[in-house]
Structures are given as C-alpha cells and as structure tokens.
Symmetry: C2
DNA sequence: ATTATCTATAGATCTATAGATAATGC
DNA sequence: ATTATCTATAGATCTATAGATAATGC
C-alpha cells in the first residue's frame, strides 16, 4: 500500500504541476506553488521529483502516455478525421489542459527549454499520423493539389493556432467549429455550397 | 542632439529586449541581460524604461507601429492575399522576430501576463483585416461554404501554427510554402490538380 | 535644470542540499 | 531498511529604489 499511496501522490503532484504551468508557464511556475497545492512543503515535493525539470519531464511523459497527440500510432491504424473533430470538441471542455500545452509550446521555442525536444519529436510524429489519416480518407490528392503530408502540416497548424485564438478570446472563437471548417475545406471539391435560403 | 541620442538609445534597448525575449521569453528575460547587450548597467537601463513591464509594453507598441500584423487598417484598403504570402516569406528570414512573438503569444495565455490584452485586441483586429482581404478577393463564399470571417480565423491560425512548427524544425517545415498551400486551398473550387507526371 | 549613468543595497524569491524525525514494511 | 516529510539554510538571482556624479542645454 505504500507503493500505491506513493503513486497517488505522484499523480496528485502531476495534476498540480499541470495547473501551475497553465497559470504561470514552466519558467514562471515555482516548486512552492506546486507543493502548496498538494499540501507538501517545497522540500517534501522534491522527495518525489528531485528537480523542477524532472517534474516537467514527468508531466510530458505522462501526457504522452494518455494523449497520443491526436494522431494514431496506437497500432490501430490512423484516426478517422471525424474523431479528430471530436477531440477538438473535447479539448474545448478542458481549457486548463489546452492552456498548459499552449504555454509550454510557446516557451519551448526559446533557448535551452527542457520541453523543446519533446515538442520537436512530437510534431514529427503528429504530422505523420495526420498524413496517414488524410491519406486513408482522401487518397493522394487533396483540394489545391495538396499531398496528405502538406495538408497534415496545415492541419496541425490550424489546431495549434486555433487554441491560441480561443484561449485569448473564448467568447468569440469557436475552436471546434473552426476546426470542422478546415476539415470541410479539405473535403470540398465543388466550390461553395450555394443552397439557397430556406424560405420557411 | 541629446534628444536624438536618447532616441537611439531607446531603439537599441528595444532591439536588445526583442533578442532577449526571443531567447528566454518575457518571464525568463532579465533586465541585466538586456542592459548588458546595450552596454549599460541594469540600473542604467531603468533610467529609460522604469520597470520590466514598461519595457515589454514599449516593445509591443513599437511592433504595432511597424508591423500592422499582416492586415490592413492603414486606410489603404485590405492587403492582397498574395502580399500576405510574401510577408510570410519575409518572416521566414527573420527567425528572431518570429521567435519573440511566438514566445510572447505562448506566455500571454497564462494568468496576469502583461501581453495578454495586447494579443487579444490584436487578434480581433487581424481577423477583421484578413476577412476584409478574403472578401475583396473571393467575395462572400469560399470553398467549403465558408464566410470570409470563418476563413480569416483559420488563416490566422495557420500563420501562427506554422510559426511554431517552423521554429521547432526549420529544416522540415516550409513555412511560406505551407502558407501558400493554404491560400491555394481557399482559392480552389475544382478539386485536386490532376496534371499527370511530366515525362521528361 | 535635465539627462545619463553608476554604485550600493534592500527586499523578495527560488532551487536545491543537508540532516533530522517519524512511520512503514520486511 | 526504506519511505515520507519537515526545518534550516546556502547560494543565486532579480527587480527596483536611493542617492551620487558627471555631462549637456538653456
């Protein structure tokens, strides 16, 4: 049971870390703030994760385990695009998680940031997964003459970019609706739908 | 001439601040690092901008003055989309600037960040500008049945999202090429270009 | 007078180490 | 023995204030 309780503690700690990073980013996060949230002293926290960076790494690994990054790589074939739309919808209900990752992504482009390699690797993977999804449903040629790979880069960009706009202005930006707009753009081969106004 | 030299100093300081933020983000930036770059003591720097936050605000205001954010609002009508493509190309030659703004955008979604309102306002403006550009060139209906406003949200998302992917992996991600892919997607009304392989 | 800089320094934090104490599990 | 926590604290930073000194512009 000691082991079990220790695992619980670690889970609590990672959840608290996620929250604090959402609020302050990694550089702005302090061990003290995380410790306070789980009812430990700052030094007590360091018993579980010996450095601040170890804590971040643990958060990222943990996420990687649950969150496949919106892509496939589960050995079950590519995700259906429709499911990606649902994933974005789901994310819209978890602003704290989205905020954590958006804050980390932003920081990660700065020098010597401990999450940089994580994101760099993850994006290669996610682009490949998205390309597989697009290929499975649209074949080799997409509107605009795009290949699945090129469309995948755009799709990832849309997902990330929408998150920032949505976090900054949740009342104005409809993140899941916008993402579905993009999927429609990739599906469309006929130009605008000109179904007239429905009278009645 | 004193006034002139003072202006020069301020310009130098803002440039140095931009660099330091690119490297460390705002929270990670220190007055000492900025001061060192312009050959002043940290306290000497505070003579020009009395607090760290004032320095950030000055950087943002300065950017706002030169960079219209890729949009119009210059009283000269909307930007042609083709010119936006060129802007992205230009940005690809200024990784430091892109990195500064990407780092700030990421941080800005965290609590009490002094750039948050700036970005929030700026994005409303940029979306409106983009919508005007799209409307001018494509009219009311775009592929997928999108309105110019909905397409504008996607366009902004693509620009931001591509910046992160490009900063993390400049050798793999062709930012300007990808952005032009997106423009093609918005232009396309006919499905994929199926010009066969050119033999020879 | 005003502007430009500097040195000294107060006051706050922050991370991480050292070492003690209590509880748990063989 | 190992695990879980705590107190004390070293050592680094960081921002911002106070106050001095020198140079510049009426």
């Amino acid at each position: 049971m000691a082991r079990a309780r220790s695992e619980e503690r670690r889970t609590e700690i990672l959840r608290a870390t996620l929250e604090v990073i959402a609020e302050r980013g990694y550089r702005g996060a302090t061990l003290g703030a995380v410790a306070e949230r789980v009812g430990l002293s700052q030094q007590g926290l360091l018993h579980y994760y010996p450095t601040k960076e170890a804590l971040l790494v643990a958060v990222l690994e943990d996420r990687d385990r649950w969150d496949t990054g919106g892509g496939g790589s589960r050995g079950e074939g590519p995700w259906p695009l429709e499911l990606l739309g649902s994933l974005v919808e789901y994310n819209a209900m978890r602003p704290a998680i989205v905020q954590t990752f958006s804050a980390l992504l932003g920081e990660s482009v700065t020098e010597e940031h401990p999450a940089r390699e994580f994101f760099s690797l993850r994006y290669s993977q996610v682009r490949a997964d998205m390309a597989a999804s697009l290929r499975a449903e649209h074949g080799e040629e997409l509107p605009g003459g795009l290949t699945p790979e090129r469309a995948a880069t755009l799709m990832v960009a849309v997902m990330d970019g929408l998150q920032y706009q949505w976090l900054l202005d949740p009342g104005t930006v409809d993140m899941p609706g916008s993402f579905r707009d993009f999927l429609r753009l990739l599906r469309d081969r006929t130009g605008p739908d000109v179904s007239g106004p429905s009278p009645g």
